[in-house]
């Protein structure tokens, strides 16, 4: 299978701290990949580098064989690379419907249109409604995002990334902070994502990781510690030592 996203010797330092340390990473088309590692391992930093929020100190990033290291966030986004944020980054004063309308308009390069009111494009509205319905947000489409419960907002995070119709989607702890009762819904949404989208999931909940992933990378202190299939990772004594608690691994 072809490689869609690749990093070569990617590093990022904050002062003396190496948050990303010489990471060479490959992601295949349609992958179901999990990125795990203890708190502060540099997972979010890695996603920030991939999505262009941060500039690397050294190394390069490649999307579909093109060097995108110096591209802006915007250019990466319209080239099919989308992400969600570990801490909600939403337009809290807008509604979910408006939020998706914006993303779709940008994808269609009609975000700067001046004359026709928002909602004139029926296809955009239909797509927004369809996506929101798919994510179980149909009943809150016209409410203020900031007024919605946290679990709902996490779903909007995902919806907003999906509205860009990405080929690569980076999910940074999508279920973090969501009450147990609502986690299932988010997992179902992730399970149902289109098969041709390459997914990278960052997650601390091992049940979820092993249920989802076909391949796993372990990040420790900014560096790639190990890569392999779920069973390889689960049975590796070193991984157990640095990351997985014995009892967590027991029932896999």
């Amino acid at each position: 299978m072809s490689i869609v996203l690749e990093t070569k010797n990617l590093s990022k330092s904050f002062g003396g701290l190496k948050a990303t340390d010489n990471v060479s990473f490959q992601l295949k088309a349609g992958a179901r990949h999990a990125l795990i590692g203890p708190n502060g391992a540099g997972k979010t930093t890695f996603v920030n580098l991939l999505s262009g929020v941060l500039q690397p100190s050294s190394g390069s990033i490649w999307l579909d064989g093109q060097d995108i290291t110096n591209w802006t966030s915007r250019r990466r986004a319209i080239s099919g690379l989308a992400r969600t944020f570990q801490i909600n980054q939403l337009f809290v004063d807008l509604t979910p419907l408006q939020t998706l309308m914006i993303a779709i308009a940008e994808r269609q390069s009609s975000g700067a249109h001046l004359l026709h009111p928002v909602g004139s494009r029926k296809d955009h509205v239909e797509e927004s409604v369809e996506l929101l319905t798919r994510l179980g947000l149909a009943d809150v489409m016209t409410q203020r995002v900031g007024s919605l419960p946290y679990g709902r907002q996490r779903l909007i995070e995902i919806a907003l990334a999906l509205a860009a119709r990405p080929r690569v989607l980076l999910l940074d702890e999508p279920a973090a902070g969501v009450p147990e009762s609502e986690r299932g819904q988010i997992l179902d949404v992730i399970d149902a994502l289109p098969k041709d989208v390459a997914l990278v999931l960052i997650e601390h909940d091992m049940d979820l990781v092993f249920r989802f992933a076909k391949s796993i990378s372990v990040l420790v202190n900014g560096a790639l510690f190990m890569e392999g299939t779920p069973s390889q990772i689960a049975n590796d004594p070193r991984v157990r030592q640095v990351y997985l608690g014995e009892e967590e691994i027991a029932h896999v």
């Binding site: 929020v53 986004a77 408006q98 975000g111 700067a112 009111p117 239909e126």
Partner: protein
């Protein structure tokens, strides 16, 4: 099938926000009726309209895109000088002295300078932006002061002659034609601003204001949009300045002065930013207050303006319109349709 049905509803919900509502229509009719009700106050009314247009231009930048500016008065002044100079050079005859061509000239000059300086406000915190816009405005003010041969310096620009509007209506001393002219121009500008802000462009500005990080992450060209709105707003401020210069047949340093930027900003915040009408409400209250209190003593006016500002910041966050909306949502939620939550600032 139910999904497509609901899509239709949602489309209606979205489109409804852009539709003209009754209170708006009443507002503009009431504004027009002032012509009949207060024939002796027409020049004050024209001035209020002009001030409101300036505040509206700040609203686009601040209320929608979230960029604070203390320098909008510079574009106002540029527009005023452009229109005045065109009137002077045209010696009262078309094309140069034609008022509409003057408006276009003013919009172009202000827009050009706005475009050139827009790149300075793309980065930085609120405070940096305040200082940069203020600095640019002060430079332009200083320039107007120093280019005496062009602007007349502190004496102002004399000998401004404006041709009749559309070759037909001459400005009269009672300010009747001026008021109608201002009303029509300000209304047209308002309609344009309203259209832009209800279009995807305006919504994308709200996204930028709400969360620029996320806006970039979904592929929104943040800088491009900011340059665009800043330029549009500068053009609008230029038109406002041109209106003042044309109706008073005069341009002076006072029209580029810092206090105009500050006043307009206060007016907008006072009326409420992000509603498009905040500038109008604010301008009315501001100018009427100024007229009443300023007549007692000028210090009174300044003192009470200061007090109002203090109270405004401490107690009413969204300005007068914010207060109204708050009261409405609380006591009569269905009066004007669903609150467009987006316009909350």
């Amino acid at each position: 099938m139910s999904a497509s049905h609901s899509a239709q509803d949602m489309q209606q919900t979205l489109l409804k926000q852009a539709r003209w509502k009754w209170p708006e229509i009443l507002f503009w009719l009431a504004l027009a009726s002032l012509y009949v009700l207060f024939p002796s106050k027409l020049s004050l009314l024209s001035e209020i309209l002009i001030l409101a247009l300036l505040a509206l231009s700040i609203d686009l930048v601040l209320g929608f895109a979230g960029i604070v500016t203390l320098g909008q008065g510079a574009f106002f002044g540029l527009g005023a000088y452009t229109a005045a100079l065109m009137g002077k050079w045209g010696m009262g005859t078309a094309p140069l002295s034609d008022p509409l061509i003057g408006l276009i000239g003013a919009a172009l000059v202000s827009g050009l300078v706005g475009f050139a300086t827009s790149f300075l406000v793309l980065r930085g915190s609120d405070l940096t932006r305040l200082m940069v816009t203020l600095g640019v405005a002060l430079m332009i003010e200083e320039l107007a002061n120093k280019l005496k041969w062009l602007t007349g310096g502190s004496d102002g620009l004399q000998g401004v002659l404006i041709a009749p509007i559309l070759g037909n209506w001459d400005f009269d001393i009672f300010g009747k034609v001026s008021f109608v002219y201002c009303y029509v121009v300000v209304f047209v500008m308002f309609v344009i601003a309203r259209q832009f802000m209800h279009a995807p462009f305006g919504l994308s500005l709200l996204a930028i204001k709400g969360n620029p990080l996320r806006a970039r992450a979904i592929g929104l060209p943040v800088n491009e949009r900011l340059v665009m709105v800043y330029t549009i707003a500068a053009m609008m401020a230029g038109v406002a300045g041109a209106l003042l210069a044309q109706t008073t047949q005069f341009a002076s340093l006072d029209m580029v002065a810092f206090h105009r930027s500050a006043d307009a900003l206060l007016i907008l915040i006072f009326g409420g930013a992000g509603y498009l009408y905040g500038g109008f409400v604010g301008a009315f209250v501001f100018r009427v207050m100024q007229d009443v209190l300023g007549n007692i003593t000028p210090q009174y006016w300044q003192f009470w303006l200061g007090i109002v500002l203090l109270l405004l910041v401490l107690f009413i966050r969204g300005g007068l319109l914010g207060l109204l909306r708050h009261l409405r949502d609380r006591y009569a939620p269905n009066l004007m349709g669903p609150p467009s939550s987006s316009r909350e600032s």
